[in-house]
Structures are given as structure tokens and as C-alpha cells.
């Protein structure tokens, strides 16, 4: 028997009347993944996560959490924890009281994990204080603590670092990294590419409720295409030589330098030989750092087509009937 994937989402759609909040999401989170669910605000990330947690019924499509449907029974969430939007607790009760309540609602040996959970998120000293007086960052940490009570194998976190100060963001990322290293599968939504790049091995990029990319970060980076930078003693001739050279893409002038995409390093090597043979001397010929950010923006703001994507994009033809 092969174990069911932690998360398997197929053709997920949520419509509110005319508005399509989520317009066809397919993703599979495998055991051990730290999966980034990336998109700008309003892309439908939170709605998707709510459907994965059984809080919202999908209009179409299926969600399976370890093979079970969270909309049919809360038992599908055994071994699963997380939060959507800002974690919320009862403001009139202390942190510890809130966690005691959550543990009581979890059953099993969850109550025995309260101290450890408070310790992990460094709230032990404030455990007796009412949550109503907590800062946003402390509530985020409370959210993690409440999740840890369930001893989860799968953690779903909705923008966990949003609204935190830089130190808080760093601590949150370190904590998520640590939990992932301990073997937890994590699905993390974010609108920050850097966060996903730092933490995740796989990523789904959504835009306007639709997925525009699903695959590994490495493939996404490769997909961004390597662009080379060239300056010579005679740039006009150099451009003409580039145009004639096999494996070299269309040249552009950026900031006074020639830039071009290339198929591989061998083609670039051949180009340098051709330039020298033509009497054009090279001042600089170097690959530019891959700019994931540009790709992210082109995916989430542009026409949605990923340039040079090496992994297939999610089919865009999932229009509503």
C-alpha cells in the first residue's frame, strides 16, 4: 500500500456568485515537502487553504488530505494542523487557557504538549497573560503553538511571517525550517518570493485564482533562462555576430551592455571564439544572476506565460462551463 500524499488537490474551484476566488488549482504535496503556495494578495491562496482545511466547501474539484476529504469529516485533519489568515484566539483567556482548550478539542495526549509548544514559540513567560493584549507577532507564534499541540505531520501555514518585524520574520522562518528538518511536511502560502525561495523545495504560483506554475524552485530558476552580459570593443559588430551564432538568442542592449539568452555554455564558448576571430575583443562576458523575482512578476502580473519554463504550466484551459 502506498501512503496517500499529504495533500492532493484536483481541479479546485470556489465561486461566490459571479466572483471566482479560486479558478482551478491542482497540486500535490508529497511527504517531506516544504511547499510554497505563492501569489500576490487576492490570488485565492487563503481561500484554497480554507478548502484544504475543510472550512469552505469547494464549488468544484476535490481535496484529499492523506487520502481523506476534510469537507466530509474533521477526522481527515488527524495529523494536520495550521492556520489561515491571522491565528485567532479567545482574547479574554490567557495563552495557556486557550491552548488548554485547543488541546481538549484535539483529544489524545495533546494536553501533555502544551508546555513544550509554549516553549518552542518562546511564549512560556507570557503564558498567563490574556491573548487580548498580545501583539500580532505573538499571536502568530500562538498559532504555531496551537498547531504543534496536534503533533502534526502536515502543517498548513497561511502567510506565517506577514506583519512581523524583520527579527520576527527571521525567527518564524527559522522555526519553520526547524520543523521541516524534523520531518514535518509544510505547505506555506506567501506573497513573498524570498520567503518561499528560502524555505521551500516546491512551489505553486497562483494568480487571480489560477495556477500559473507548479514545480520545483530549481526548475523555476532554470526556467527563468540564463542571460549573459557582453561588452566588447565594438558592440555593433558583436551584436551582428551574436545574431549569426547558433544557440544564442536575441540580443538586447540593457544599461549599455549587450544581453542575450543562451542555450548552453558551449554556445557561449563558440560565441567568444567567433568574436575574437572577427577581431572583436571581449571586455566582459558573464552570466547574469538568475532573477526569480522578474519571473515571479511576469507570472503574476504579466500575461501569465512563463518564459522558457522547463516544466509544463498548469493548463490554462480550465474555464468554468
Amino acid at each position: 500500500m502506498t501512503a496517500a500524499a499529504p495533500i492532493e488537490v484536483r481541479g479546485l474551484v470556489k465561486r461566490y456568485g459571479e466572483l471566482t476566488a479560486v479558478g482551478g488549482v491542482d497540486l500535490t504535496v508529497e511527504s517531506g515537502d516544504v511547499y510554497g503556495y505563492l501569489g500576490p494578495n487576492g490570488a485565492g491562496k487563503t481561500t484554497s487553504l480554507r478548502m484544504m482545511l475543510g472550512l469552505i466547501r469547494p464549488t468544484e474539484g476535490t481535496v484529499r488530505i492523506f487520502g481523506r476529504d476534510p469537507n466530509a469529516t474533521v477526522a481527515a485533519l488527524e495529523g494536520v494542523a495550521g492556520f489561515v489568515e491571522a491565528p485567532a484566539f479567545y482574547p479574554y483567556m490567557s495563552a495557556r487557557r486557550n491552548l488548554e482548550m485547543m488541546a481538549a478539542f484535539d483529544g489524545g495526549d495533546a494536553p501533555s504538549r502544551i508546555d513544550l509548544a509554549l516553549d518552542t514559540v518562546e511564549l512560556t513567560k507570557r503564558a498567563g497573560d490574556r491573548v487580548g493584549g498580545f501583539s500580532h507577532g505573538m499571536r502568530q507564534r500562538m498559532g504555531i503553538a496551537a498547531a504543534l499541540l496536534r503533533n502534526p505531520k502536515l502543517l498548513l501555514l497561511d502567510e506565517p511571517a506577514t506583519g512581523l518585524d524583520p527579527a520576527g520574520m527571521r525567527d518564524m522562518r527559522l522555526l519553520i525550517r526547524r520543523l521541516a528538518d524534523e520531518g514535518m511536511t509544510v505547505l506555506l502560502s506567501s506573497h513573498l518570493l524570498a520567503e518561499v525561495e528560502e524555505l521551500c523545495n516546491r512551489v505553486a504560483i497562483v494568480r487571480g485564482g489560477r495556477m500559473v506554475y507548479e514545480g520545483t524552485i530549481a526548475a523555476l530558476a532554470r526556467g527563468a533562462g540564463v542571460v549573459y552580459r557582453l561588452t566588447t570593443t565594438d558592440d555593433a559588430r558583436a551584436q551582428a555576430i551574436c545574431a549569426a551564432q547558433p544557440g544564442i538568442g536575441e540580443t538586447k542592449i540593457q544599461h549599455g551592455k549587450i544581453t542575450f539568452p543562451a542555450d548552453d555554455e558551449a554556445a557561449v564558448g563558440e560565441l567568444s571564439r567567433a568574436l575574437i576571430e572577427a577581431g572583436v575583443l571581449i571586455h566582459e562576458l558573464a552570466p547574469q544572476t538568475v532573477n526569480l523575482e522578474d519571473l515571479f512578476f511576469s507570472l503574476t502580473e504579466g500575461d501569465g506565460a512563463a518564459p522558457h519554463a522547463t516544466e509544463p504550466l498548469v493548463p490554462a484551459a480550465r474555464d468554468a462551463p
Binding site: M1, A3, A4, T47, R50, L53, G54, L55, I56, R57, F66, G67, R68, D69, T73, V74, A75, L77, E78, G79, V80, A81, G82, F83, V84, E85, A86, P87, A88, F89, Y90, P91, Y92, M93, R97, M101, M102, A104, F105, D106, G107, G108, D109, A146, R150, K153
Partner: protein
């Protein structure tokens, strides 16, 4: 596919069999705890205690009257037995006091989760929505019982301290002993809980529907008042026996000799007609709703 789902149910990620799974009792216990933290609870229970005390004080400060000038039931006997006090409060409390006291909690119990954004927090633990609904409904019912019992008991004690634990004259004119009278008072309180339960159900429905505490509390009270007003509209007198407000007088059947069971039995089924569909509707709304906000 169903086979996959079934094998997954027995997968190691499931809670080991024998592990203690939470149930309605966990919800009930924690909802009670939450009520203890909330001001509205004390507002409601405080009113249930204060109103009989103020009533006793007001009656005590008035010059003793003879003859029933005010003409309401028991008005002639107010100062003759302390046991009359709870009955008079039941009579007047039906208009808005008791509906308000129970609406304070019933209208809030689901809406406050929306207000705090905590519904998503509790619904992603290990409890089914049905269990959460049942726990909350039971706690609201418990609060209503406590409020009525508290009010009645305070009225009995304060009334008897002021006017004595004396025999009680029934509405039929017969005299019953003080212990028997006390029994009738508590039987009346019990029957009074029937229309109160219907108000609780209405409050729960509005709480799930409106997702706003103030709207649900005020709405519940408005519905209760509007039903009472229907009864005094000319031409609608024939509706009177089937109005929710009328059921608040069913307990008077105990104060007749022999006991008049008709209004009491009618109260049971009429209140069920008001309460059961609203409770069921609240259940369905809660079960099916998308938890999209908060």
C-alpha cells in the same frame, strides 16, 4: 477511489485506536468556562438576581393596599405570602426580561466566534461541527436553566423574608400550604422553561445567521416582542393560544385546582413548533456554512 479512502482511514496518520477522542462533553465544559469569562453572562445572571430583589424592595416600600386596584393575577396576595413574588416576576418577566436574559447568551454564542475569528480555530481541531453545535446549544440551555432557577430562588427567598413563608392562595381561590406552594412555584419555573427553550432556539438561529452578536440579541428580543404584539391586534385573537408569548402563562395551570393541564400540554407542542424547526435550521446553517471570514 472509495477503497483508497477507506485504507487511508486506517493509515498510521490516524489517531491510534484507544486514544481519547474529544466529544460534546469537551465542548460543553469549555463553553461553560468561556461563559465564566464573559461580562454578558454576569449581566444576564445579575439581572436575574437583581430584578426580584428590586421588586421586593419596591413592594415593601409601597403603602399596603387592599383590593386589587392593579388587577393583575396575584396582585391581591403580594404581601400575604412570599411565595407570590416569584410568580409575579414570571408574569412580568415574560414581556422582555427573560427573553433578554437568554438572548444575551443565545444570540452571542455563535456570533462571538465570528467576531473573534475563532471559528476557524476550533473547526480545525478534532471536533465535528455537529459536536460543536451540540455543545454550544447545551451550554446555552444550561445558562437559561440557571438564570430562571436563580431568579426564582432569589424571588422565593427575598419574598419570604419580606412577607413570610405563608400558605398560598391559588387562582381558583383555594389555599395551599406553604410547602405545597413552594412545590407549585418550582413546577411553574419548570414549565416556564418550555417557552424559554423556544426563545433559546430562535436566538441560536439568529446567532448563526447574522454572525453578529448585537443583531442576534436584539433580533431575538424583537421577535419575542412582535409575537406578543400579534396577540393584541384586533381580529387576531384566535391566534392567541398558539402565540409563543401565551405559552409564558402556561404555568398558571398549576395554580388552579384541580391543576389545569391543558395550557401546559399545549405549551409543550406549540413551543416545539417554534423551537424545533429553528434549532434544526440553526444546525443546518452552522453545518453547511463556509467559514470564510475572520
Amino acid at each position: 477511489m472509495s477503497a483508497v479512502v477507506e485504507t487511508a482511514a486506517a493509515a498510521p496518520n490516524a489517531v491510534p485506536s484507544g486514544a481519547r477522542r474529544p466529544g460534546i462533553w469537551a465542548v460543553y465544559r469549555w463553553e461553560l468556562t468561556k461563559l465564566r469569562y464573559q461580562k454578558r453572562t454576569y449581566l444576564g445572571l445579575g439581572a436575574a438576581v437583581l430584578v426580584p430583589l428590586l421588586f421586593v424592595l419596591a413592594i415593601g416600600l409601597q403603602p399596603h393596599r387592599h383590593g386589587g386596584n392593579n388587577g393583575f393575577a396575584f396582585s391581591d396576595y403580594l404581601t400575604k405570602s412570599g411565595l407570590v413574588m416569584p410568580l409575579v416576576i414570571l408574569l412580568f418577566g415574560a414581556i422582555w426580561l427573560f427573553p433578554l436574559i437568554v438572548a444575551l447568551v443565545a444570540g452571542d454564542i455563535f456570533a462571538s466566534e465570528d467576531h473573534n475569528g475563532t471559528l476557524k480555530t476550533v473547526l480545525t481541531r478534532s471536533l465535528e461541527r455537529q459536536q460543536i453545535f451540540a455543545g454550544k446549544a447545551l451550554v446555552t440551555a444550561t445558562y437559561a436553566v440557571v438564570a430562571i432557577a436563580l431568579d426564582g430562588t432569589v424571588a422565593v427567598i427575598a419574598g419570604c423574608l419580606e412577607n413570610g413563608f405563608n400558605s398560598l392562595q391559588t387562582l381558583s381561590g383555594t389555599i395551599v400550604s406553604a410547602p405545597k406552594g413552594l412545590e407549585l412555584v418550582y413546577a411553574s419555573l419548570l414549565v416556564y422553561l418550555v417557552p424559554i427553550a423556544a426563545i433559546v432556539c430562535i436566538g441560536l438561529l439568529l446567532s448563526t445567521l447574522f454572525r453578529n452578536s448585537a443583531a442576534a440579541v436584539v433580533g431575538t428580543l424583537m421577535i419575542s416582542l412582535v409575537i406578543q404584539l400579534l396577540g393584541i391586534l384586533p381580529g387576531l385573537g384566535s391566534l392567541q393560544p398558539y402565540l409563543l408569548s401565551t405559552q409564558f402563562n402556561a404555568w398558571q395551570g398549576f395554580l388552579r385546582s384541580p391543576t389545569d393541564w391543558d395550557p401546559i400540554i399545549r405549551s409543550l407542542w406549540v413551543c416545539a413548533l417554534y423551537g424545533v424547526p429553528t434549532l434544526f435550521a440553526a444546525f443546518l446553517v452552522f453545518l453547511r456554512r463556509d467559514v470564510a471570514g475572520g
